[in-house]
Point group: C2
Chain length 301, copies 2
């Protein structure tokens, strides 16, 4: 089975990118998009990457789709699943793109039907921008997409794997629990820290906001990029991946406290040892094609 | 007075960039570079941006220079100043590019002569790469350069201001104390946090290094870029700007603890309020030309 008809629910950065990529790389013949925001629907119609756009229930689209992908914030997955599942055709596949997997699976499970297979997924891709205008077809190229199948559904997992590979992704299969602790480390806590630091800087009474902006090229601006990501999505991520996030944050605070102590006691040895170690991991990331070695000059040219 | 002859001591990322820019934009007729690493000297000769390269004392170059700029790690500024100042010609200007100003001024002051004016400086520019190969002439364009003159030296400050403006920079004048607290916020603590988080991730027993590398596109890779900066320079920065760094780190830990508490108690309101606020500062940074709004896709293409 290949995907003839695809329904994307939530036409934001990721949803609109999947729609564009599915068409561009021939991974679906017909692509429908549903979004509950009238502004988003108008934009999607104007951008022209979907064969049909609906602001409402999209019962008609759901009934045709071989694959329905939920691209809404994690906190809304349960509600959206409850509405769309009764309208889906027998044998169709349901998936999602939520940045946490355990909580999303819990939220969707009560609404599942025996003849609909849910294979949860998470493409590790994105930018700091939001909305249908921000999406683009190449966003998943050479990025990892994690699938966390929980029940019988080997065949459906294979179909979804082929779909994501068709969009240019590498696919990794793991348990929802493992996904959530790995992503807490590589994504959720980095975002929490960036959000925190940007807030700390803005609140410093000894430094004006104008100074923070002017002298941001010294490192701070990279944090502001991360901290410009969609607030609602990230609130939901932290609340839904609470345990793993708090575990990694606690470890981070321990480590920061140790380096703080080294600074206070002028222990240059400890600092140097720590800083030299972190260069190595950067090299691995560039080698693995997950970032470019082009220096970050922070400008277009 | 304009700069006829410039001596750069330390031909790394910043030093080699000043040498290149001074020639490219006609801000000095003759540019000499001194570096105590034989490998760096060989590279500088091969790259061909200097009129003379010396691995040793460079007494001859120092005697000719109208402007000498110290581009060595903050911890070495005092020693280098002690060696070069006796050889400088009367009326010449001494400056530096150290990321901290209070401690550098303290280190240089004991070695100053009455007929040499020291105007400390800090160009807020750079990339995560190091060494003479990493430099380029455009690195200072549209970036801020802070000058922190402490004594009589209005005329010399004006000459240095014109020099940096000639390299494309905007110049800000402030006290060393103010510079150090502002930069602790916008640069030093962001680097310390990036170094810490990368270490935390690598040390997590529940997550393999391979997973950290594979799934780094979710936010982590931006931290690894910052944490790939020169370890020796950053050790010196933290040790020399101890008070301000610790003050900002403590504020950051307080704020992170508050957000951690909000996550633990599922207080979505507090999280959302905080995250929405930080988007605003990003917009200001992009508007001020200190970063591009191009989405960070993390790849060349």
């Amino acid at each position: 089975m290949t995907i003839e008809t695809l329904l994307i629910i939530g036409g934001g950065l990721i949803g609109s990118s999947i729609a564009r990529a599915a068409k561009a790389y021939g991974q679906a013949k017909t692509v429908y998009v549903m979004d509950n925001s009238p502004e988003a629907c108008t934009a999607i119609e104007r951008l022209g990457f979907a064969d049909g756009v609906s602001e409402g229930q999209a019962d008609f689209y759901a009934a045709q789709a071989d694959l329905v992908i939920l691209c809404v914030p994690p906190g809304r997955m349960g509600d959206v699943a409850e509405k769309v599942i009764p309208n889906m055709k027998s044998g169709a596949i349901l998936s999602d793109v939520g940045s946490i997997k355990g909580a999303v699976i819990e939220a969707v499970k009560p609404h599942l039907r025996k003849d609909i297979c849910f294979v949860a997924g998470h493409p590790i891709a994105g930018t700091e921008h939001s909305g249908p205008e921000a999406g683009f077809a190449e966003i998943f190229k050479d990025r990892w997409c994690v699938l966390t199948p929980t029940e019988e559904g080997l065949e459906q997992t294979q179909i979804l794997k082929t779909f994501w590979e068709g969009l240019g992704s590498d696919v990794a299969i793991m348990t929802p629990e493992r996904h959530d602790i790995v992503l807490a480390t590589t994504s959720h806590v980095p975002h929490l820290i960036a959000y925190t630091l940007v807030g700390t800087a803005v609140d410093m009474e000894t430094v004006t906001q104008n100074e923070v902006v002017k002298f941001s090229a010294g490192g701070f601006r990279d944090f502001t990029r991360i901290a410009a990501s969609d607030p609602i999505m990230w609130r939901d991520v932290f609340l839904s991946n609470r345990e793993a996030t708090l575990e990694v944050v606690d470890r981070f605070i321990e480590d920061l406290t140790a380096l703080k102590r080294a600074i206070r006691w002028e222990d240059g040895e400890t600092l140097l040892e720590h800083f030299a170690k972190t260069r190595d991991i950067r090299r691995h990331i560039v080698d693995a094609g997950q970032d470019s070695s082009t220096p970050n000059f922070g400008r277009d040219d």
